[in-house]
């Protein structure tokens, strides 16, 4: 699964197979990071906005 595993070989089979796997995992990971990060940011902005409204 990782290049530091003892049975890892730098050959076409590993490039294609693990390339596909890490490609999919990267998309899922990046997608979820974006969603969670943006949700946290949006929530903070909304809370800030509501606090400002209270002050006014």
């Amino acid at each position: 699964m990782f290049p530091f595993a003892f049975e890892w070989i730098w050959d076409m089979g590993h490039y294609v197979f693990h390339g596909g796997l890490w490609y999919a995992l990267s998309i899922i990971g990046a997608g979820m990071t974006y969603c969670i990060g943006k949700a946290a940011y949006d929530t903070l902005i909304q809370e800030k906005g509501s606090h400002e409204d209270e002050h006014h």
Binding site: M1, H18, I28, G31, C35, T43
Partner: protein, 444 residues
């Protein structure tokens, strides 16, 4: 008691009735869990698997529910990649069914490996030349995708949605759902195919062996194709069963008919490819290995597999439902639709049975006879377990989550018609603007 958790504008049965139903399903689930624990504690000697049947009932169940759960990836592909807007009214349920199917498949595999503590070996020490490794990787990652697709639905629960972070998270996840759906379609293509590839590459077992392109035997493509064709049929079937149980109309006919039409054409093209494949295998591949078709469908002692199973798979479970679904009458007539979707599901399950169990039943040495196998009660109980689990998860999701965006409109509660009209207007506006966000946002 739990009315605050139930979506607005819909009616549900009393909590007592609901708990009684869950308890009944829970009893079946408990038997399955007991059998599962027996298998984990005592080992695979609890099964009737043997040297001839290394793959048995569990693997058939695995292949069958993965194929039936294919509705999630294919409906997601049609909705988010192709952009068929009408399918937004059934995509939630397709995702839920897919989630149940894939989690069940993974659970069965966790029992089947016999040594669950070593389950991670297949990931860590991946054999890149194995179709099964590809299946394990894609299955697990696709299950993660399905979980991501299911999370926004959970977050849309009335109580959870009031928490701003979860509301925003759900909204953001819907916004980029096309990315997850595309990843899911990519993963599904490969693991559905590789499940077929497992049988197709077995050159020592002429019943399953097929020629193909590069490293992929024809069964690779046939499995993906059949899952995409029948998966939506299973989604329709479960929707129809849910409608019968709840005595409500949950999805409009035009949505069901559209999905049935797409499924029908997929099934028709699949069955044509399957017939060509069967013909080539029967009259070229197998004779090239010194075997005849009659030897595969023999009536030798110990064999229950006659030509009837080929007829059941290809004609009854393939050609008949395909012809019903491609015709307008077949799709619009309720009885014909029920027959077609049921037969299509039976057909795909038979196909998976044949490619797992008939394949192993056939002797590979001239001095051997057909191998027989009957599953132990532990195998049967753990195979029924997913059905009970699925019924429980569907019941809970239906009760507390806005699974069916059209439910309120189709089942108005007296005094709330005005509110429904507003929902309709919002939906029309959304369709006009081509907004990809879920219908549930407007319906709740």
């Amino acid at each position: 008691m739990d009315s605050d958790l139930i979506p607005k504008g819909v009616q549900r049965c009393s909590l007592g009735k609901f708990l009684l139903w869950i308890s009944a399903c829970g009893f079946v689930l408990a038997i399955g869990v007991y059998a599962m624990i027996l298998c984990w504690l005592k080992g695979l000697n609890q099964t009737n698997m043997n040297d001839a049947y290394g793959f048995a009932l569990w693997i058939w169940a695995d292949l069958a529910i993965i194929a039936l759960g294919g509705g999630a990836f294919f409906t997601g592909f049609l909705r988010y990649i192709i952009g068929i807007k009408e399918l937004k009214n059934i995509i939630n349920y397709a995702v839920l069914i897919g989630f149940i199917c894939y989690s069940s498949a993974l659970l069965i595999l966790a029992i089947d490996i016999g040594q669950p503590l070593r389950g991670w070996f297949i990931f860590w020490h991946a054999n890149v030349h194995s179709m099964l490794t590809e299946v394990a990787f894609c299955l697990t990652v696709y299950f993660a995708v399905l979980t991501i697709e299911y999370i926004p639905l959970v977050l849309e629960n009335r109580k959870i949605d009031k928490i701003p972070f979860f509301h925003n998270l759900s909204h953001n996840m819907h916004e980029i759902m096309a990315v997850f759906a595309a990843t899911g379609a990519f993963l599904s293509f490969f693991h559905q195919g590789s499940l077929g590839g497992v049988a197709g590459v077995l050159f020592g077992r002429p019943f399953g062996f097929r020629e193909g392109i590069l490293i992929w035997p024809w069964t690779f493509f046939l499995f993906t194709w059949s899952a995409a064709a029948v998966g939506p049929c299973f989604t329709i079937l479960i929707t129809k069963i849910t409608e019968k149980v709840t005595r409500k109309k949950l999805v409009k006919d035009n949505v069901i008919e559209l999905l049935a039409k797409i499924s029908g054409w997929m099934l028709l093209t699949y069955i044509i490819a399957k017939l060509i494949d069967t013909y080539y295998w029967a009259f070229h591949t197998a004779p090239g290995m010194g075997l005849t078709l009659a030897q595969f469908y023999t009536s030798d002692p110990g064999s229950v597999y006659g030509y009837w199973i080929l007829f059941l798979e290809v004609v009854i479970g393939g050609i008949v439902p395909a012809l019903i679904l491609v015709t307008k009458f077949g799709r619009t007539n309720k009885i014909a639709l029920w027959i077609a979707i049921t037969l299509a599901c039976i057909g795909i399950c038979t196909n998976r049975w044949v490619m797992v169990l008939q394949l192993l039943a056939m002797p590979v040495m001239t001095f051997q006879s057909w191998f027989t196998y009957f599953p132990s009660w532990q195998e049967i109980a753990t195979t029924i377990l997913p059905v009970a689990y699925g019924a429980i998860l569907i019941s809970i999701s239906y009760r507390y989550l806005p699974i069916f965006p059209q439910e309120r409109e189709l089942n108005p509660i007296p005094g709330e018609e005005a509110e429904v009209e507003t929902v309709e207007k919002e939906e029309k506006k959304e369709l006009a603007t081509g907004d990809l966000s879920p219908a549930t946002e407007t319906a709740t």
